[in-house]
């Protein structure tokens, strides 16, 4: 037994099997143990739109530092189904290890694994059935093998199991702990004895971290920001927003209503928002498409509602569980007629939290629809982050009138012409503040009007909000070397992979920067200006039509300076893909640059 083991700095694990095999559970428990050891973790899922069956996977990265993407190099593949091996073999290299279920024999030929891969066959399913008469315990058995391999202590694993399974009852804890013990025995037989793990797992940074997804962070941000009504219709990959709020919003004094469809959801939201309540819905492309009429109504009738778009692969029903960023056009341009709206694009769960709060403030102050533009990766992948400092939360509800303020007015007009474009709002129930709200063109009182002069003034009032609000919208963040003449632009799940690519490029002596745009609509002047300034800007996005790049170009961005890196196969990018694109496109010689 060697005394000097490498400290665990970067571990990437894929756990794969049939849907229902419990791959996600393994990864979640592993993530929990490793973050207990002070590492940051990031998890991703590759699932199908079915409850059981098909080959699915959960992926984990544990990193000593922050990484919001999975590495290009996978250290360990755990396969409950041998079919998962050829599916993920391309992610492995000669240093990788494969633990697979050997209940039905050795791996057949044609598995596609690179040479040098270490194979650890373990009859997981056979032992699960033998000991528990239930195949499902194979994932808990496998956990012991994984833990022993990487160097977790047996008692750490037990503790994590107790924590994980307690909410499922004493029986679940008992059987899963027994399964863990079976796994430890099998590990011994496979030569993975206690203390023979690959890594030293230290706890230098043992301070507590949050483990959170973008969807959860939006939901949490909404609740803290005073959001009190959520109406939605379940749709992958946005549903976790509703699920979190179902559990938590009543504790904040709020309510969640599951509607019969997205038409109902957006209109329930409108009804709620009309009463002066902070209101949200969450959906993805097909739901946004169904909500279009309601979204136009928000713009025209000046009703504030927040809409989370957890974008998935389209068009139409597309690939429901796969990521894409192809609703950018829909969010920025969708709907009948011209109306103001805001599209905010966070890059991390932390930004999902804070920018949801910003978005809530902006939507009420300016009485417009606000979109939170996420994607499946940002929405559903979990990441560690430092505990939020809630003292930074501020709430701004704009110009709201109570009964006394109304009484001081000579006249109250729901759609009063103002400098900013937003009119003071008296919520229903406020004595004296009766007003009319309509999606028809209307005069200042809300009475229907087709008078051309009034029409122009009302249109200009609404559109004028876009300029008024600009100073309050989230500005771009610059990462890396601000003077570098190679740059990236990308939103959502591109964030983590761009930052890792920049580190790799930097290690090759190629310095880059990342202009992380965070407001897509109205586009702030800074982004087109950036592309005018920086001669080599790679716009990284998950769609075919380069929607983000075209959006920047249409606002005065320099098309000659922008190069697209596009992906639309439903597979998350890897940092090495971006590195290769940059080196190839710019014809860089790594050694020369260095």
């Amino acid at each position: 037994m060697s005394d000097v083991k490498p400290v665990l700095e970067d571990l990437n694990v894929i756990v794969a099997g049939q849907g229902g095999d419990g791959s996600l559970t393994v990864v979640n428990v592993l993530a929990d143990v490793l973050r207990g050891g002070g590492l940051r973790v990031y998890t991703e899922r590759d699932v199908l739109s079915r409850i059981k069956g098909g080959i699915t996977a959960a992926t984990l990265r544990a990193y000593d530092g922050e990484r919001l993407c999975i590495s290009s190099h996978i250290d360990l593949l755990v396969a409950f189904d041998q079919l998962a091996v050829p599916k993920y073999a391309f992610r492995l290299n000669s240093q990788s290890i494969v633990i697979y279920d050997s209940s039905n024999g050795e791996l057949p030929e044609g598995h596609g694994l690179p040479e040098g891969v270490r194979l650890i066959p373990v009859p997981l399913s056979r032992y699960a059935v033998k000991h528990f008469r239930r195949d499902i315990y194979k994932n808990s058995i496998s956990f012991a093998v994984i833990g022993r391999l990487i160097g977790l202590q047996d008692d750490e694993m037990e503790k994590a199991f107790v924590k994980r399974f307690t909410r499922r009852g004493a029986q679940a804890v008992k059987y899963n702990l027994e399964a863990l013990a079976v796994g430890c025995k099998l590990s011994d037989e496979a030569g993975l004895e206690v203390g023979k793990g690959k890594f030293e797992i230290t706890s230098q940074d043992a301070k507590p971290h949050m483990l959170i997804t973008g969807n959860e962070a939006c939901a949490f941000g909404f609740a803290v920001a005073g959001g009190r009504v959520f109406c939605g219709y379940p749709i992958t990959p946005s549903t976790d927003v509703m699920e979190w709020l179902v559990k938590w919003l009543p504790k904040f004094g709020g309510v969640v209503k599951q509607a019969e469809d997205e038409l109902s959801a957006i209109n329930m939201c409108i009804g709620s928002a009309l009463t002066g309540t902070r209101t949200m819905t969450a959906t993805c492309g097909p739901g946004i498409a169904l909500m279009q009429e309601g979204i136009g109504q928000l713009g025209m009738a000046e009703v504030p509602v927040m809409i989370v778009d957890a974008q998935r692969s389209g068009p139409s029903t597309g690939m429901p569980t796969k990521p894409e960023q192809s609703d950018i056009n829909l969010l920025c341009y969708g709907g009948a007629g011209d109306f103001p709206r805001v599209v905010i694009a966070p890059g991390t769960p932390e930004e999902c939290f804070w920018l949801t709060i910003t978005g809530c403030n902006v939507m009420e102050k300016y009485q417009v629809p606000v979109f939170m533009c996420l994607d499946q990766g940002l929405s559903q992948n979990t990441a560690t982050m430092d505990p939020l400092d809630l003292a930074g939360v501020t709430i701004d509800r704009g110009d709201r009138l109570d009964a006394e303020q109304v009484a001081e007015l000579e006249v109250y007009k729901r759609y009063l012409f103002t400098e900013s474009g937003a009119s003071p709002f008296a919520a229903p129930g406020t004595p004296g503040g009766m007003g009319l709200v309509t999606g028809n063109e209307h005069d200042e009182f809300g009475l229907v009007s087709v008078d051309p002069i009034n029409r122009n003034r009302q249109m200009e009032k609404r559109q004028g909000k876009m300029e008024s609000m600009k100073p309050e919208l989230p500005k771009a963040v610059t990462h890396g070397v601000e003077t570098a003449d190679i740059a990236f632009i990308g939103v959502g799940m591109c964030y983590g992979v761009i930052l890792e690519a920049m580190d790799i490029l930097s290690s090759k002596g190629i310095h880059t920067q990342y202009h992380q745009v965070r407001t897509l609509w109205p586009m702030l002047d800074e982004t087109p200006a950036f592309t005018q300034r920086c001669p080599n800007t790679f716009v990284v996005e998950y769609n075919y039509q380069a929607q983000l790049k075209k959006l920047i170009h249409s606002h005065g961005g320099n098309d000659e300076n922008m190069h697209s890196i596009l992906r639309y196969d439903g597979v998350p990018m890897q940092a090495k893909d971006l590195v290769n694109e940059v080196i190839t496109k710019l014809n860089l010689k790594e050694d020369k640059v260095a």
Partner: protein, 287 residues
């Protein structure tokens, strides 16, 4: 007193049944002493969709067919408002028909009045879901929304009135508002409201309406009997009026909201409880 909008004069054709509905609604709101600022009136799209402009209230002109989701959302957010939805048969039974069964099922504390004239008046007389076979070459059997409502176990108040019989219309409108204000959930009132221009049914309806309120032995609390009677009357070519069905069930909002807090719309959210529930939620991500 602060000046707000002056209720507009209705834009309906002379003789339109909707005048009767407006008059009944205003009368009932006044009879029940519901002040204008507590009235939240949402109207759909169509001729009936301008009703909220004609009385003093917080009024909202919703999208075509979306009256019921809108009023459901409003009532959940602020149950202290008297929430009234109004619309036509095209709005409520065609483009918004899908929401109707869910509204019956949910039973939110709203009053929903449908002005049924069997036609799309505003687009010049196409057949609506309640148009009889033969109207404008309509080949389909007409929809009976009262029977639809009766078939949904969650429904709690179903009535039908006729704008040609204003006394009963006024009484049923008041009953509908009372049902909802008593916390029993959705009161659904269909009003036969003739379109004098495209489907003038005053003469037909005057002879075919049938008042169950004055029928001896009719029990509006017996769903089975109500359904059977509706089918019998339909087979006889009659249009049943009156309080057709009523039952007791808690309204959606009272079942949904956390009563330790004021209604969502009435909370002061500007000072979040950072050390309480906000911190609990934060800690749940750490554990």
């Amino acid at each position: 007193m602060t000046k707000t909008f002056t209720p507009a004069r209705p834009i309906w054709c002379a003789g339109c049944g909707d005048f009767g509905v407006l008059q009944a609604l205003v009368g009932s709101l006044e009879e029940l002493e519901i002040p204008p600022h507590e009235r939240f009136v949402t109207a759909g799209i169509g001729c009936s969709g301008s009703l909220q402009n004609n009385l003093s209230c917080y009024g909202y002109h919703t999208l075509h067919g979306r009256v019921l989701p809108t009023v459901t959302g409003a009532k959940l957010a602020n149950p202290e408002l008297t929430v009234v939805g109004v619309g036509g048969d095209g709005d409520g039974y065609a483009i918004g028909g899908g929401h109707l069964m869910h509204a019956f099922k949910r039973n939110p504390g709203v009053t929903y009045i449908v002005m049924n004239n069997g036609t799309y008046g505003l687009t010049k007389g196409q057949a609506s879901p309640t148009a009889p076979t033969g109207y404008q070459d309509n080949l389909e059997e007409d929809l009976d929304p009262v029977m639809l409502g009766l078939s949904i176990p969650g429904s709690t108040f179903i009535a039908r009135a006729y704008s040609g019989q204003p006394a009963q219309l006024a009484r049923l409108t008041t009953e509908a508002l009372k049902h909802t204000r008593a916390g029993k959930g959705m009161s659904y009132l269909e009003v036969l409201s003739p379109c004098v221009t495209y489907n003038d049914t005053y003469r037909d309806w005057r002879t075919s309406v049938y008042d169950v309120d004055s029928e001896e032995g009719y029990d509006p609390e017996n769903r089975t009997q109500a359904f059977t009677r509706m089918q019998e009357l339909r087979d006889e070519g009659r249009l049943p009026l009156g309080l057709i069905f009523r039952s007791d069930r808690a309204a959606l909002e009272s079942l949904s909201l956390n009563h330790d807090y004021p209604a969502p719309a009435l909370q002061d959210i500007t000072k979040p409880d950072l050390s309480g529930v906000c911190n609990d939620a934060l800690q749940s991500f750490i554990k």
